[in-house]
């Protein structure tokens, strides 16, 4: 196998910033076969691969890359799918720079191997030719309920179905996919891909019920009464946080959850073809520095805003958003106001936002998170002239199901307490993903769903 000694990742074709900033189509267009083979040939095939250890679901990375280099794309996707059931999603939204690619030896002398891009290529290659449903074992005739249909739940449901369980997924919204459909925008993760993943787990025999707000229409107790022998809770961290500053209820102030849900799930960008509207003004401020803030800002631009600011109280260095998303946002013209914190939102007489008063910050001593704590600079208040504010400062656990479920121990922040296999304090109940860890990544949620599936299987095997 020839080695490609380039220090740079094979570039991935993408929509140009000046074009993409006004449309919702996917930004990155993916590798061609030649690009993929070329990039795969950069992999050194380490004997002790660090990348695999960096992957929360331990994809056998050098193995699949080797197959791509050999043009055995079928073999490549098979290797990936042994441990990762959502590669088309992960190849797009995983923070590879903090995981597999961070530990890549090639990366020590230049760019790491583009593992995420190669994963995406292999997954898209398979999608293009039609995904094969694996041969399924005989049904065990035992029922497992999965609550939520985000990455943790889809993974858990898929793995259990492959073991022969009758799995039912209960989703509150009218469309399954969780954060993959309501949160992550089309231009980063096309909804057709999520749809395909859901169709795939249906083909594995999983039943998906939408419009089921668990805790309201059915409780965990009801599920056991209905004959489910185990329950997995993967309801995510869906409760939006507000800042608690004056003016947050003015018209034109959105939580990022509402802003993104209106756009992504309810397709407000097609209004009035679709019925759900959204108000995006000329000058938008998005408060926060995570991926959700980037998604909100870039969505605001695509909805037609003239100017979009990201207002973040720390500096660029502490920003939790992925580097790639930060770069994308900058290229598209998003303006970053670092070390800036909103103090109050100002409204007009009709209650519409007309400005946001902010204060400059400076970095002080490190706080509990290890990042330097931002402290306000006295007398540095100033007013930003904005007409829309999106608050993307994080989310908490939604208490709807938790409050209606007896015997579930919680953490001090209100998340479900679970062991490393997702086992909760209640027998027969597992939990995983953001409802356990707090808002984290798709891949960590998938990892949790996987472990829980294994643990549920062991439990049900030993039960009978």
């Amino acid at each position: 196998m020839p080695l490609n000694k380039s220090k740079k990742k094979t570039p991935m074709p993408a929509q140009k910033p000046e074009v993409r900033r006004r449309n919702f189509n996917e930004v990155a267009l993916g590798y061609t076969e030649e690009d993929a083979v070329n990039e795969a040939q950069r992999c050194l095939q380490c004997k002790k691969p660090g990348c695999v250890q960096g992957c929360p679901v331990q994809v056998q990375i050098p193995q699949f890359i080797k197959r791509i280099a050999e043009r055995d794309f079928d073999g490549a996707i098979k290797v990936i799918k042994e441990t990762n059931s959502l590669p088309a999603v992960c190849g797009r939204v995983c923070p590879q720079e903090e995981q597999c690619e961070q530990r890549c030896v090639v990366g020590k002398m230049g760019d790491p191997v583009g593992i995420g891009r190669l994963e995406r290529f292999a997954a898209d290659w398979e999608r293009a030719k039609g995904v094969q449903v694996p041969e399924l074992p005989a049904k065990l005739g035992r029922k497992v309920a999965v609550i939520g249909s985000g990455p943790a739940s889809l993974t858990c449901a898929g793995d259990l179905a492959k073991l022969g369980y009758d799995v039912t997924v209960f989703e509150a919204f009218h469309k399954p996919g969780g954060v993959l459909v309501y949160g992550i925008p089309e231009f980063r993760l096309p909804k057709a891909i999520v749809q395909e993943e859901v169709e795939f787990i249906k083909k594995l025999g999983v039943e998906v019920k939408t419009d089921m707000v668990m805790g309201k229409v059915l409780t965990v107790d009801d599920l056991f009464d209905m004959g489910y022998e185990a329950v997995f809770i993967g309801t995510g961290a869906g409760l939006p946080k507000f800042m608690g500053i004056p003016g947050e209820n003015y018209l034109g102030v959105y939580s990022a959850n509402e802003f993104l849900t209106r756009i992504n799930l309810m397709k407000a960008y097609s209004f009035p073809e679709t019925d759900t509207p959204i108000k995006v003004g000329k000058k938008v401020a998005v408060v926060g520095g995570g991926n959700v803030a980037m998604d909100s800002a870039r969505s605001a631009l695509r909805m037609g805003a003239d100017e979009v600011h990201i207002v973040y109280r720390r500096s660029e260095e502490e920003m939790p958003a992925r580097q790639e998303e930060f770069e994308n946002a900058k290229e598209e013209g998003i303006i970053f106001d670092f070390l800036t914190n909103p103090v109050r939102i100002i409204g007009d007489e009709k209650g519409w936002v007309k400005g946001m008063e902010c204060i400059r910050m400076e970095l002080g001593e490190p706080d509990a998170s290890g990042r330097r704590r931002p402290v306000p600079v006295k007398g540095s208040e100033f007013t930003m002239d904005v007409d829309t504010v999106v608050i993307a400062i994080g989310t908490g656990p939604n208490p709807l199901l938790i409050n209606a479920s007896k015997g579930l121990e919680l953490t001090k922040h209100g998340y479900i307490a679970a062991d490393e296999n997702g086992k909760t304090s209640r027998e027969g109940v597992w939990a995983g993903g953001d409802i356990v860890t707090g808002a984290a990544t798709v891949i960590l949620a998938m990892g949790a769903g996987k472990k829980a599936a294994r643990s549920i299987h062991e439990y049900l095997q030993s039960k009978r």
Partner: protein, 292 residues
Amino acid sequence: MFKILEKKNLAPSIKLFVMDAPLVAKKARPGQFVILRIKEGGERIPLTIADYDAEKGTVTVVFQEVGKTTRELGTLKAGDSIQDFVGPLGVPVEFPHHKKVLGVGGGLGVAPLYPKLKMLHEQGVEVVSIIGAKTAEMLIFEDEMKAVSDRLYVCTDDGSKGRHGFVTVVLKELLEQGENFDEIIIIGPPILMKIGAEITRPYGIPTMVSLNPIMVDGTGMCGGCRVSVGGEIKFACVDGPAFDGHKVDFDELMKRLATYRDEEKISLERFHESHECKLTEQIKGADSDAVK
């Protein structure tokens, strides 16, 4: 899909659907609501549950045709189905220790008031009710309210039925006459609830209102329905929709309800255009049939 089992025209532009929704019916309690969506691409709208029957598996909703979605909903007939019908959402209301309650319902608000009073009546609580509408023909649920009230006052704004004037006038009279209640429940347009709560405030009688802000998911996930109650942010979908009327910031609620006024107009105009086109086509079709 959820089937419409029965449709009634209660008043011009006010319609009632009995929906086939066994799971929702089984868990529904007074004070709760549902979110529905007519079809793919449709918006999610909240409607308060007006009645339910766990045995028959049915849930009754009442709506007024004001915007595009409610008008489109109004064109559906018994036997038609809608895409989504989600619930029961919100916190059920309970009055375990009450002996005498006054219910005040204005316009469409009589429908959500009814299940609460029905429950109280079944609990043996003395129920006094005041219901009203713009005109006699806009009055809804009069018989139902009569059945669950020990005393019922009917008002119309134009005097075409019952007392001439607003429900709040009767409310004020009863309180001025020294009648006392353990709780007063006021449901109707925000302005009615605001005025009503101001009338009861000096008497210190607990006053419950039920709010209908704009919602998307109805599960606490978007925060679009946030209202200020006693200076705190509450989500009507998971903390309500019933709140202490003496603590609600109604002015803010009314402003927030107007957020999408322009978009609502656009939506409605489009709906009328396409709807009229269809009607014209139908008429044309009928004509050509006649020619044959």
